[in-house]
């Protein structure tokens, strides 16, 4: 059988390389019985639609961020400043963690199985002009940031001294390039290098959120495979994930370097500033989001996850 796997980045990017290796391993382990065909660059639709299509079995697999359209509890995964650094992230998001169980349960309700994950980066802010005190969350900067049309990002931007402008990804580049907005939030160095490098003059690595992509497969399609094939998929997924944890930090640093080479200045951000920002966001943004997605469920999960 040939499994179609969708991801959101262009060919030859880190995820594309890793996904291709995953495909090769699966094919080798099953003597070519299972082939994984990769569709890069959101060729099959943006991740929200692809998630639904995987749920329906129209697309077999995907590796991408969770979409909260069908279940707003997915917003919990995006909670800004849920983790502040890589050590936190590895503890909270790793395989076998309470967080992974929660995410798997949520996906299971969409008829989707989580095979593994791919830690991407910590988010930051790309700016197309100099903004004084950019890293100080208490300074009113008066700068407009394009944020993804998701409540958590809008609230975060507004509460740390920026003006959040929700714009869909399709309009984001044009908006920054022409100066409709002064910068972008919602992605990390890798994302900005891929899509915004020509317009990024400053990059602020504020660790706004931790981006985690999940390797997904439609539940029925998975259960139709025989045990050996399932084992092959799981083994390859395991390697896909553990290899990435090894390289993720370095990859983030590499992408910041690439941004710098493309002409951007990386703004210095101290741990203290990150802590201060996190404190504000947790106090101002979290209650609202927790309320939206169901206070009982969310606080319970957060308690378990943050332990």
């Amino acid at each position: 059988a040939t499994l179609k796997l969708s991801h959101v980045r262009p060919q030859d990017t880190a995820i594309d390389v890793d996904a291709t290796r995953f495909a090769d391993q699966v094919s080798a382990a099953t003597d070519g019985e299972i082939k994984v065909k990769i569709f890069p660059a959101s060729a099959l639709g943006d991740y929200t639609v692809v998630q639904e299509r995987v749920g329906l079995g129209a697309i077999d697999m995907a590796v991408q961020p969770p979409a909260s359209g069908a279940d707003k509890r997915f917003q919990l995964v995006y909670m800004p400043y849920l983790v502040k650094n890589w050590d936190d992230a590895e503890r909270v998001f790793a395989k076998g963690s309470p967080m992974r169980d929660v995410v798997s349960e949520l996906y299971a309700k969409q008829n989707i199985r989580v095979l593994g994950a791919w830690p991407v980066y910590f988010g930051g802010i790309a700016l197309n002009q100099e903004v004084p005190n950019a890293a100080d969350p208490t300074a009113d900067k008066g700068a407009k940031l394009r944020v993804p049309p998701i409540k958590t990002f809008q609230l975060t931007a507004d509460n740390i001294g920026f003006i959040g402008s929700p714009l869909p990804f399709s309009e984001a580049f044009t908006a920054v390039q022409t100066g409709v907005v002064d910068g972008v939030m919602g992605s990390g160095a890798e994302g900005y290098y891929a899509s915004f490098r020509d317009v990024t003059k400053y990059y602020l690595p504020l660790n706004t959120h931790f981006e985690m992509w999940y390797l997904l497969i439609n539940e029925e399609i998975y259960s139709e495979l025989d045990e050996e094939q399932q084992a092959a998929l799981n083994a390859a997924a395991e390697q896909f994930e553990s290899a990435r944890w090894e390289t993720a930090r370095g990859d983030q640093a590499r992408n910041e370097k690439l941004l710098e080479e493309a002409g951007a200045t990386i703004l210095p951000v101290s741990d203290e500033q990150i802590n201060k920002t996190a404190e504000i966001v947790r106090k101002q943004v979290w209650p609202e989001v927790i309320n939206d997605i169901g206070a009982g469920w969310a606080t319970d999960v957060l308690d378990r996850v943050m332990k």
């Binding site: 943006d46 714009l167 409709v180 020509d198």
Partner: protein, 432 residues
């Protein structure tokens, strides 16, 4: 699977020839792919529909609506007077006025129909009175009306940018150079052709009178001339996205139409609203089903297979560019601009990038070819509208129209293919 894809395409073309509406032609293609082939429709409606929520598409109805309101509001008179004061007194100048005025209207409207609709009713009778044959005047204005699609904003470039994932602002700029060149060509061709017409010329004004007149007419035309400034300045100056600019254009056009030029009435507003909405509805339902078909093609790997099988025949860039231009010319003869782009852009783009043609240059190649389709019979919407407005039988307009296409338009089509800078220079200035 490529055989079934070709079968689907053949069925599509047959139904299209029978006059089946395009959305159903694409639907029939989908039926072939899923009922004869092994593709699945599962989740396809969901996917296609989600594409429609892209706000970029909203610029289409809004630019069409703004252009229609401006056109019925009677701005044309003031624009004509404005352009006329500068070139109207030269021999053959009135024809140049036609071309330039259509270009200005083109900078307001996103559609190819608006120029002839706005300028035609006033200028055709005047040109006839001054000695131009009526059929020639009609053909000239109808041909110049195409500039609406080449001078930004442009509905076809929005569609192209959207289906090929190219920056719409870059696409807008890609056809601007060719558009201005076509305007220039039409003016030259007109000056040459009109030498054999028995023209009556306006008297030359003394300089001081001319200046006073120019000032007065500029003032009258100002509200109309401001519109492109707001739209393009707003977009390229970083104040608005194209969609927002289109909306601002609509909101701006309302008081200008109602209160300044006064051609806009409740009746024409309602009519314009309904017709713009209907136009966009019929465009988007077609796009919806065409997208589903090309998505199935992508899932089955058809575009790449197509490129491979074409390259198996020849990899010669010149030969392929000539063939593609001929192909687009043929497509343009039988369908309108947007349909032509929807039909061919997703299939041709992989081929073009394999040939080393940039998506921006290809935007211009597609742009000039498909826009020309509006005046090439048998399916020639802009020419038909021109005939109706000029009250000249279609058969009479065809001959002068073909002459203008041959000497004014075709040279630019050739240039766009062989000279990348013509389309890439302006976008390059803006960093695309």
């Amino acid at each position: 699977m490529i055989e079934i894809a070709l079968l689907a395409f053949a069925v599509l073309v047959i139904l299209l020839t029978l006059g089946v509406p395009l959305p159903y032609c694409f639907g029939a293609g989908l039926m072939v792919m899923t009922l004869v082939g092994e593709a699945t429709m599962r989740g396809m409606m969901l996917w296609g529909f989600s594409q429609l929520t892209n706000p970029v598409l909203l610029a289409i109805p809004l630019f069409v609506f703004a252009g229609t309101i401006m056109s019925v509001s009677g701005i044309a008179g003031s624009l004509l007077n404005f352009v006329n004061v500068f070139v109207g007194r030269v021999r053959g100048g009135l024809g140049v006025v036609a071309s330039i005025s259509c270009a200005i209207i083109g900078a307001i409207s996103g559609s190819g129909l608006t120029g002839v609709a706005a300028i035609g009713p006033l200028l055709i009778p005047e040109m006839e009175a001054k000695g131009y044959p009526r059929a020639y005047a009609t053909a000239l204005i109808a041909n110049s009306s195409i500039l609406g699609l080449l001078i930004p904003p442009s509905v076809t470039m929005i569609v192209y940018g959207w289906v090929t994932d190219t920056s719409i602002l870059a696409c807008f700029l890609a056809t601007l150079g060719p558009g201005l060149l076509i305007m220039f060509n039409f003016s030259i061709v007109n000056l040459v052709v009109s030498r054999k017409f028995p023209l009556i010329l306006d008297q030359k004004l003394p300089f001081d009178k001319l200046m006073r007149e120019a000032g007065k007419r500029t003032f009258n035309a100002l509200p109309a001339l401001l519109m492109p400034v707001i739209i393009l300045g707003g977009i390229y100056g970083g104040i608005m996205t194209p969609t927002e600019a289109a909306a601002v254009a609509v909101i701006y056009a309302l008081p200008v139409g109602f209160m300044i030029y006064r051609g806009l009435t409740w009746k024409t507003l309602l009519e314009s609203g309904k017709e713009s909405a209907t136009a966009v509805g019929s465009i988007l339902i077609m796009i919806l089903f065409s997208l589903m078909l090309s998505q199935i093609y992508v899932l089955e790997g058809i575009p790449q297979a197509l490129v491979d099988s074409i390259f198996a025949i020849t990899e010669n860039k010149v030969v392929l560019l000539i063939l593609i231009n001929l192909f687009l010319f043929g497509i343009g003869m039988v369908v309108n601009d947007i349909t032509a782009i929807i039909l061919t852009a997703p299939l041709l783009l992989p081929l073009m990038s394999a040939l080393g043609v940039s998506p921006i240059q290809f935007a211009a190649i597609m742009g000039v070819n498909t826009a020309m389709g509006g005046v090439t019979p048998p399916y020639a919407s802009i020419l038909y509208l021109g005939a109706r407005i000029g009250k000249v039988k279609f058969t009479e307009v065809v001959k002068p129209a073909m002459m203008l296409i041959l000497f004014g338009y075709i040279p630019v089509v050739v240039l766009v293919s062989v000279w990348p800078d013509l389309s890439e220079f302006l976008p390059g200035l803006f960093g695309y």
